[in-house]
C-alpha cells in the first residue's frame, strides 16, 4: 500500500517498537505531526524546548537501554536540540533524532527556517542522513536505528525535507539491514583474550577499572561474576557507576578527579590494570605522564579508536564487554587459573590502609545543611533504589560519591559533555521508562534554571520526579575552582536574585518545599517520596562554600590527591592551570 512519507515515519517507529517520542512541532514537520495525530501507539511528549526533547530521549535511553527518539522542526528546532545531541554523543547513548527540513527544492536557498542540519550535527552524531527521496525513507530510518544501537552506540540524525514526508511511496520495512561500510566487531580476538586472562592470573596487585561501556553493553552480570572470581579491587568511572554494586566490599569507589583516595592510589600502584569499557578520559587519568607508572594494561572496548588513544595498552581487545568477559570466565574455569592469593591479601591490606583514611568523610553540622548529608539521606530514604539523574557541578559529584548505586542504569548524568540542564528532562525520560520506580533529580540552583520550563511538560504528562536542589547560591563548581586557583576572586559565580523555587514549583502545579535546617532533611525527603504521584521541588539551602573533596587538581597524578580539611591547595600545578 502506498503511504505518505509522514505515515511511513510513524510506521517505522512502530516497527522499531518505539513507545515514546519527545518532540516539538513546526512547519517542516507538520506532515509528521498530522500522521502522529491519527494513531495512539507511539506516544508523543510535547516538551517545552527542543534541547529537553533530546535530553529526555537520552534519559529514557540511559534508563531503559532502548534507543531514545526525538522529533524537531527545521532551523531553530534543530539548533536548539544540538546541545542535547552532543550530550548523547559524548556519552555514547543510542538515540535517533528526526528533524524536519525545508523542501528539497529550497535546500541551499536560505529558505525560511533552513539550516544545514546535517552539517551542523556532523561532528556530534555517530552518523546522519538527509533523505531526498521518499522511496529511501524506510530503509534510511532502519539504518538509523541499526547504527544508533550497535557497536559503540550513539545518536543518529535523519533529516526529513517537507516534500519527502508529503510524497507517497510503497511501505516496506526491511527486516534486516546489512551495510558494507559498517560492521562493528562484537567477538573479541580469542588469542588476546587468553593472553589477558593469563596476565590477570599472574598479577600481584591488579586493579579493575570499568566505565560506561559496561552499562551500555549490559555487561554488569559478567563483570560481577568475573570480579568475584578474581577477588581484585574494582573502581568505576563516573559513567560506569552501578555496573558493579557500590555496597560490595571489592568496590573501592569512583576514581578520578573527585574519586576516592583508595581507588586512585590503587590505580597508581597496581601492577596490572584491567580496563573494561572505559576510555581513559582526562578526568580519570589526571596527568598522563604520571598515570599508572607500574601497570601493564589490558583494555576491552568495542571501539578500536578508544584503545591506545590516551594511554598505550599492552593487550587490546576489541569486542563487546559481556562477550569478552564471558570468554574470560570460561578460560579461568577451564584452566583452573587462580590469582596469587597471598599477594592479593597483601594488596588488600594496603588498600584497606588507604581506605581507612576515609577520604569521603566530612564534618556534619546541626546548624547548616551539608550537601553530602542530603545525598546520604536521599540514599537512606529511597533505600538505595531510586533512579538518580543529575545536572552538572558540585551536586553531581556529591551524588556520585554519596549515593551508592548497586545496579546499572540507576545513575544518569552527563559525564562527557557536562551539560548543565540535563538532569530534569533526563529524569522525565527515565520516569516515562520506569513509571513505578522513584526518580530523583539532583541539581543546583544554577543548572535547574537552564531547563526549568520542563516542569510544565512534567505536569502535562504526569511524570512525578523528586527534584533535590542543593541550593548553595553559587555556581558552586566554578566558585570552588575560583577559590583554589584564582585566590577567591568569585567572578560571576554568585547567583543573585534567585527565584522563590517553592512558589515557582507551585506555579507549575507541583509541590514546593524549602528546607533550611539539617534536622528537617530526612523528614522532608520522606514526605516528598510519600507523594507518589506528585513532582516535588525540594529546595535545600546548603552550606554555600562547601567544597568537593577529595580532589586531584588538574595536572596532578592520581597519587597527588587533596583531602578535605588537610591539604589546602598546596601542590597546585602551574601546567594544570591551562587544563580545564
Amino acid at each position: 500500500m502506498e503511504l505518505t512519507g509522514a505515515e511511513i515515519v510513524v510506521r517505522c517507529l512502530k516497527e522499531e517498537g518505539v513507545e515514546v517520542l519527545f518532540g516539538y512541532p513546526g512547519g517542516a514537520v507538520l506532515h509528521i505531526y498530522d500522521a502522529l495525530h491519527v494513531q495512539d501507539e507511539v506516544k508523543h511528549v510535547l516538551v517545552r524546548h527542543e534541547q529537553a526533547a533530546a535530553h529526555a530521549a537520552d534519559g529514557y535511553a540511559r534508563a531503559s537501554g532502548k534507543p531514545g527518539v526525538c522529533l524537531v522542526t527545521s532551523g531553530p528546532g534543530l539548533t536548539n536540540a544540538v546541545t542535547g545531541i552532543a550530550t548523547a554523543y559524548m556519552d555514547s547513548i543510542p538515540m535517533v533524532i528526526l528533524s524536519g527540513q525545508v523542501p528539497t527544492k529550497l535546500i541551499g536557498n536560505d529558505a525560511f527556517q533552513e539550516c544545514d542540519s546535517v552539517g551542523i550535527t556532523r561532528p556530534c552524531v555517530k552518523h546522519n542522513f538527509l533523505v531526498r527521496d521518499v522511496r529511501d525513507l524506510a530503509e534510511t530510518i532502519k539504518k538509523a536505528f541499526y547504527i544508533a544501537t550497535t557497536g559503540r552506540p550513539g545518536p543518529v540524525l535523519v533529516d526529513l525535507p517537507k516534500d519527502v514526508t508529503g510524497a507517497r511511496a510503497e511501505f516496506d520495512y526491511p527486516k534486516k539491514i546489512k551495510m558494507r561500510s559498517y560492521n562493528p566487531t562484537v567477538k573479541g580476538h580469542s588469542g588476546q583474550i587468553r593472553k589477558a586472562t593469563e596476565l590477570l592470573a599472574q598479577a600481584k596487585r591488579a586493579m579493575i577499572y570499568t566505565g560506561g561501556g559496561v552499562v551500555l553493553s549490559d555487561g554488569s552480570k559478567e563483570l560481577i561474576e568475573l570480579t568475584r572470581m578474581l577477588g581484585f579491587p574494582i573502581t568505576n568511572t563516573l559513567m560506569g557507576l552501578g555496573a558493579y554494586p557500590a555496597t560490595d566490599r571489592q568496590f573501592v569507589g569512583m576514581l578520578g578527579m573527585h574519586g576516592t583516595y583508595e581507588s586512585n592510589m590503587a590505580m597508581h600502584h597496581c601492577d596490572v590494570l584491567f580496563a573494561v569499557g572505559a576510555r581513559f578520559d582526562d578526568r580519570v587519568t589526571g596527568n598522563l605522564e604520571k598515570f599508572c607508572p607500574t601497570a601493564r594494561i589490558i583494555h576491552i572496548d568495542i571501539d578500536p579508536s578508544s584503545i591506545s588513544k590516551n594511554v598505550a595498552v599492552e593487550i587490546p581487545i576489541v569486542g563487546s564487554v559481556p562477550n569478552v568477559l564471558r570468554q574470560m570466565i570460561t578460560i579461568l574455569k577451564e584452566e583452573g587459573l587462580e590469582p596469587d592469593r597471598e599477594a592479593l591479601a597483601r594488596w588488600w591490606q594496603q588498600i584497606d590502609e588507604w581506605r581507612a583514611i576515609k577520604s569521603l568523610g566530612y564534618r556534619n553540622s546541626d546548624t547548616i545543611i551539608k550537601p553530602q548529608y542530603v545525598i546520604e539521606q536521599l540514599y537512606h530514604v529511597t533505600d538505595g533504589q531510586a533512579i538518580v539523574t543529575s545536572d552538572v557541578g558540585q551536586h553531581q559529584m556529591w551524588a556520585a560519591q554519596y549515593y551508592l548505586f548497586d545496579r546499572p542504569r540507576q545513575w544518569i548524568n552527563s559525564g562527557g559533555l557536562g551539560t548543565m540542564g540535563f538532569g530534569l528532562p533526563a529524569a522525565m525520560g527515565a520516569k516515562l521508562a520506569f513509571p513505578d520506580v522513584d526518580v530523583a533529580c539532583v541539581t543546583g540552583e544554577g543548572s535547574i534554571q537552564m531547563m526549568l520550563q520542563e516542569l510544565s511538560t512534567m505536569k502535562q504528562y504526569h511524570t512525578p520526579v523528586k527534584i533535590v536542589n542543593l541550593n548553595n547560591q553559587y555556581l558552586g563548581m566554578v566558585r570552588q575552582w575560583q577559590e583554589f586557583f584564582y585566590e577567591k576572586r568569585y567572578s560571576m559565580s554568585y547567583m543573585e536574585a534567585l527565584p522563590d523555587f517553592v512558589k515557582l514549583a507551585e506555579a507549575y502545579g507541583h509541590v514546593g518545599m524549602k528546607i533550611e535546617r539539617p534536622a528537617d532533611v530526612e523528614g522532608a525527603l520522606r514526605e516528598a517520596f510519600a507523594m507518589k504521584d506528585r513532582t516535588v521541588f525540594l529546595d535545600f539551602m546548603t552550606d554555600p562554600e562547601e567544597n568537593v573533596f577529595p580532589m586531584i587538581p588538574s595536572g596532578g597524578g592520581q597519587n597527588e590527591m587533596l583531602l578535605a580539611g588537610r591539604d589546602a591547595m598546596k601542590n597546585r600545578h602551574e601546567e594544570g592551570m591551562i587544563l580545564v
Binding site: 546535517v118 561532528p123 561500510s181 578500536p304 579508536s305 591506545s308 588513544k309
Partner: protein, 163 residues
C-alpha cells in the same frame, strides 16, 4: 612520518566533508587530498597525505575506519607502492634562461603545454618530492603559478583495494 592513506568511500553526498571534518576537528594535518570516482559508481576513492608519529597515524586510521561512509582503507606507505602527483607550472622563460628552462623541463621529464613570449607552461608527474625538487631547481623567482593535483597512489603487486 609522512603517510599516504587511500580510502574507498561510499559515493554519498557529504561523505567527503565527514573525512575533512574529522581532520579539522581532531587537529590532524592534511597535506593533500584528492577524490575521484572509481570503476564502481557507488564508490569514490580518496587519497590523503598526512604526517604524524605512529600513535597519531594509528588514531587517524581508526577514526577514519569509524566513519560510517568509509568502506575500506589502506595506509599505502606501509608497503611497496607507487605515488604520483600531477603538476602544471607556469614558469618565466625569456632571454638567456629560455633554453635553460626548456632543458630543465626535459631533465624532469616534463612536457611543455603552452608557450608565450616570456613563459612556458609545463606539465610534470611524479612523486611529490620530485615536483618539489623541480620547483626548487627552477627557483621561486621564475615561478609565475603552480597547480598541483595532490598525491594519489596505488600499492604494488597483483592485489587491488576492493570491497
Amino acid at each position: 612520518m609522512r603517510h599516504i592513506i587511500s580510502i574507498l568511500l561510499e559515493n554519498e553526498s557529504g561523505a567527503l566533508s565527514r573525512v575533512a571534518g574529522l581532520f579539522s576537528a581532531r587537529g590532524y594535518n592534511i597535506e593533500s587530498l584528492t577524490v575521484a570516482p572509481t570503476e564502481d559508481a557507488s564508490l569514490s576513492r580518496l587519497t590523503l597525505v598526512t604526517r604524524g608519529n605512529d600513535q597519531i597515524i594509528e588514531q587517524i586510521v581508526k577514526q577514519l575506519n569509524k566513519l560510517v561512509d568509509v568502506v575500506k582503507l589502506v595506509d599505502l606507505t606501509e608497503g611497496p607502492h607507487i605515488e604520483r602527483e600531477l603538476m602544471m607550472a607556469k614558469i618565466r622563460a625569456s632571454g638567456e634562461s629560455r633554453a635553460e628552462m626548456y632543458r630543465l623541463v626535459e631533465i624532469f621529464r616534463g612536457h611543455v603545454l603552452d608557450v608565450t613570449e616570456g613563459t612556458y607552461t609545463v606539465e610534470l608527474t611524479g612523486p611529490g618530492d620530485k615536483l618539489d625538487a623541480f620547483i626548487a631547481t627552477v627557483g621561486d623567482e621564475s615561478i609565475v603559478e603552480v597547480v598541483r593535483s595532490g598525491v594519489t597512489g596505488i600499492a604494488r603487486g597483483p592485489k587491488g583495494l576492493h570491497v
